[in-house]
């Protein structure tokens, strides 16, 4: 990649990744409000808002982060499987995205329950949103730490690639 393209790719990756992290923090705040609030209107609003936030913010940011991360890996000398920190970060993004895509069904289900005027809102009193967004937050924080510190360590594939390049 040319330096200009590389900077652009890096910017999109940082924006989408940090945006994903921020969206998860906002979702966690909503989830905590939905779990702890005694106000039925508030609880309904939380679970209704969770669906568009997930579908139109969190999922696109997750996919963008994963895609731009792959572009970054293949477009630079880091590679995708040469350094352990890149591999870990990639696995974190893949696992988090897969669980997120599966979890959209749960979010939609809760939104449907909240939208039903005669629904029993006690059905919404589940810690699932807090648990999942909390776990996602930990994973994304770990990915951020890896991206910033870039701890040393080459995979066997990376070592082979380095040796073949040097010879």
């Amino acid at each position: 990649m040319t330096p200009r393209v590389r900077k652009f790719a890096l910017t999109t990756h940082v924006v989408s990744s940090v945006g994903w992290l921020g969206a998860i923090v906002a979702f966690l705040a909503l989830a905590l409000a939905g779990l702890s609030s005694q106000d039925a209107q508030m609880v309904r609003a939380v679970y209704l808002a969770a669906e568009p936030i997930t579908s139109f913010v969190i999922v696109p940011l997750a996919l963008a982060s994963l895609l731009t991360g792959i572009v970054q890996a293949f477009g630079t000398t880091w590679g995708l499987f040469r350094h352990y920190w890149v591999v870990f970060k990639f696995l974190i993004a893949v696992v988090a995205t897969i669980v997120l895509l599966m979890y959209t069904q749960t979010v939609s289900f809760f939104a449907d329950v909240a939208a039903e005027p005669t629904a029993d809102l006690r059905e919404l009193r589940s810690p699932t949103f807090v648990l999942h967004s909390g776990a996602a937050l930990l994973l994304l924080l770990a990915a951020t730490v890896l991206a910033v510190y870039k701890p040393r360590g080459m995979t066997p594939y990376g070592r082979r690639a380095l040796r073949s390049r040097d010879h």
Binding site: Y84, V99, R152
Partner: protein
């Protein structure tokens, strides 16, 4: 005396910076993320043998977490899976016959 101490400290600091700069200048790979080689965190002077300790520790922690999550999913003691039916009907279900619609 103060001027002497300050100038000596400054000299030592400048020497340290110069040696850091020399180290970075011999980096075999610039940091691809930034295109610079001044971060000191790129794949420079990296050991090419063995698996680092942080990788082993992280892999063990990840394995334990995965096993815990799988165990919770299999034995149903945890927050459940990711389908819509898995997250409801927990300990907060209303008593039979009780009308709790629309309230908490």
């Amino acid at each position: 005396l103060i001027v002497n101490i300050v100038s000596r400290k400054l000299g030592a600091f400048m020497k340290m910076r110069a040696s850091e700069k020399d180290t970075h200048m011999v980096d075999s790979h610039p940091d691809p993320d930034t295109g610079d080689d001044d971060t000191g965190v790129g794949p420079d002077r990296e050991s090419t043998t063995g698996t680092p300790r942080w990788v082993k520790v992280s892999a063990i922690v990840a394995l334990v977490v995965v096993l815990l999550v799988v165990g919770m999913l299999v034995f149903g003691g945890g927050p459940g899976g990711h389908g819509p039916g898995r997250h409801t009907g927990g300990g907060d279900t209303p008593a039979a016959g009780g009308d709790t619609r629309g309230r908490l």
